[in-house]
Symmetry: C2
């Protein structure tokens, strides 16, 4: 079944190349054609917070979610918060390659960015969480990450009157507002605000032909024509579907550790062995190292690996530079975050558990 | 020599009690006397950033310092920033009892708060750093904390053009602005802005007799008369001088680990065995657990321990509650912090070193 995934990949790629059309001979015509092609393949990041399924977004919920996102006391050690690994100051990720968690254990995959994550088809590299509220329940419980339990989270929140008030305001119609589910919903609401509009590429998609440099346009053209946009398309320039890493050529074991079979662990379908959600490339320049293994530190090198393993294309140095220039145009405007003052712990707040 | 420290402590205590005067018989007179006494012993936190020796504070330097304060890439693992242990969201400290550092090693003492630290006579529990710039050079190099080197710090900063520009603006007359010394100076400048004015007690010291509740005034009176203010006085209600922990009665070994002899390690004087800088009590309610060992989680319990070990006084339950009420009046207005977007790492930025 892996072959069919590859075939599908090529078909999609071909479609996108066709969509791009044969570029017209005049420079202005070519420019228009490129913009038209780009608009068929990609979508700009909106400047307003998107709606989220089953979770109406309110100011109160976002404020609560931000407070929770930065609260390390929700981890067993009370040292690790969501922001530790999804650092909003460094592109929504940590230094990598993979994350340091409870008792200095190392995670097995690179932390995905929380910026624009709301636009992904599903969460985690293997898509095992349907949405951000499902995602938010994962790391807080993972033994190699925050190593807490829903009971620890709820007990901690209930020990602080200020949190109880915040939950009541965020979930006004709930009889018991402080729950693990609402904790996750509030974080989802906050993360839905972590969108980065107005990148040069967004401005280009919205009709400003001068928003990209000539080199960036050349990179965009290559990105479409070589087939990168077969997998990296849509609003997040990726993150919309699942593809085999190594569709054409198997990457080195350092980049594709053989014991991590990706989406296979979710679906148990042999066709999903070594299949991952395509990486969303929004703000990609802000967050090396790359790939789920986090083993490639240079964006140019990552472009080279991708073109060879996924497309069987050997790009020239200039072509890689052009594509990197285009990828740099995907860096948007990050939201301004007021660092939250957290509710003060009380005598009944669970104590940190550093060693267990 | 330890005895003389105790004697001195009592003398200072007596002086403060004398300064407080015998309280007048009328309620209004007593109120005035209490305020007068308090004004002789304490000083309000100013609402403007204080000057710092040898380090003129500029907006550019503060902005740089804030960025550095939140940058985990300055640690060897690139996971730990100043804010990890001195979390501005939780009173400028971590969850404790002592800090988790590089490779999950535990520090030997409770992280002191950075809020109002600029007003302390010296930094660290043993006063081994004369000021905040000297302090800032410590944890970044300590093997159980950030485990970095000045070379790592300077190489990391020099790898990002944005940092070089920020240093040039912060230190415009320096030929080589990016240095380990300037890194520390910028952090000191930022930390000088971390002051928390306008606590109810500040308003009281500034003449508003209604800023404290009756219970808080009763607590203040006890705080002076019982002798607490012998050591906890001045602008930071502590942090101004060094005293033996266990001046009257030796605390339990759990509170005063016998292998940590405090200021003795700095001065090598036998009289400084188990001597520590008195804890500054500003915002003390925000940051349990207490003492350099971080073993007491309740403020009321901490008041009880202090009164017995330092003053030989056995306080009643009501007296402890009154003092705790007063200590709650020391919680000021925390500055608003915009979470900084950090400069983006480049191909030349040193890689994280998690295991070494």
């Amino acid at each position: 079944m892996r072959k069919s995934a590859v075939r599908e990949l090529y078909m999609v790629g071909t479609l996108y190349v066709l969509a791009a059309g044969v570029l017209a001979s005049s420079a202005a015509g070519a420019d228009n054609d490129l913009m038209s092609a780009a608009r068929r393949i990609f979508r700009p990041i909106p400047s307003i917070v998107p709606a989220v399924k089953d979770n109406p977004i309110t100011h109160e919920k976002v404020t609560l979610g931000k407070t929770l996102f930065f609260d390390p006391r929700l981890s067993a050690s009370e040292v690790i918060s969501c922001n530790t690994c999804h650092n909003l100051g460094t592109g929504g990720v940590d230094a990598g390659p993979t994350s340091v968690g409870h008792r200095w254990q190392l995670g097995s995959r690179r932390a995905p960015t929380v910026y624009n994550a709301v636009f992904n088809v599903a969460q985690f590299w293997d898509g095992r969480a349907a949405d951000l509220k499902a995602q938010a329940e994962g790391p807080v419980q993972a033994s190699v990450e925050m190593n807490a339990t829903p009971v620890h989270v709820v007990d901690t929140l209930n020990s602080m009157a200020e949190y109880i008030v915040m939950f009541s305001k965020a979930f006004p119609s709930d009889a018991t507002p402080v729950t693990f589910e609402n904790f996750a919903k509030a974080i989802e609401a906050f993360e839905a605000t972590l969108i980065t509009p107005a990148a040069p590429f967004d401005q280009y998609l919205e009709g400003d032909a001068y928003a990209l440099s000539d080199r960036q346009k050349a990179g965009l053209k290559l990105f479409i024509e070589k087939g990168c946009s077969s997998c990296h398309n849509g609003i997040n320039v990726g993150g919309q579907d699942y593809f085999a890493f190594g569709a054409v050529e198997r990457p080195a074991a350092s980049l594709l550790p053989r014991n991590d079979k990706g989406r296979f662990a979710v679906t148990k379908m042999p066709s999903d062995e070594y299949v991952f959600r395509s990486a969303p490339l929004r703000n990609v320049a802000l967050r090396p190292p790359y790939f789920h293994s986090g083993q490639v530190w240079s964006l140019k090198e990552a472009v080279g690996v991708m073109s060879e393993t996924q497309l069987g294309a050997k790009l020239s140095d200039t072509e890689k530079d052009d594509i990197v220039a285009f990828l740099n145009s995907l860096t948007g405007q990050l939201p301004k975050i007021d660092y939250p003052i957290l509710p003060t712990r009380t005598d009944t707040t669970p104590k940190p558990s550093v060693h267990k």
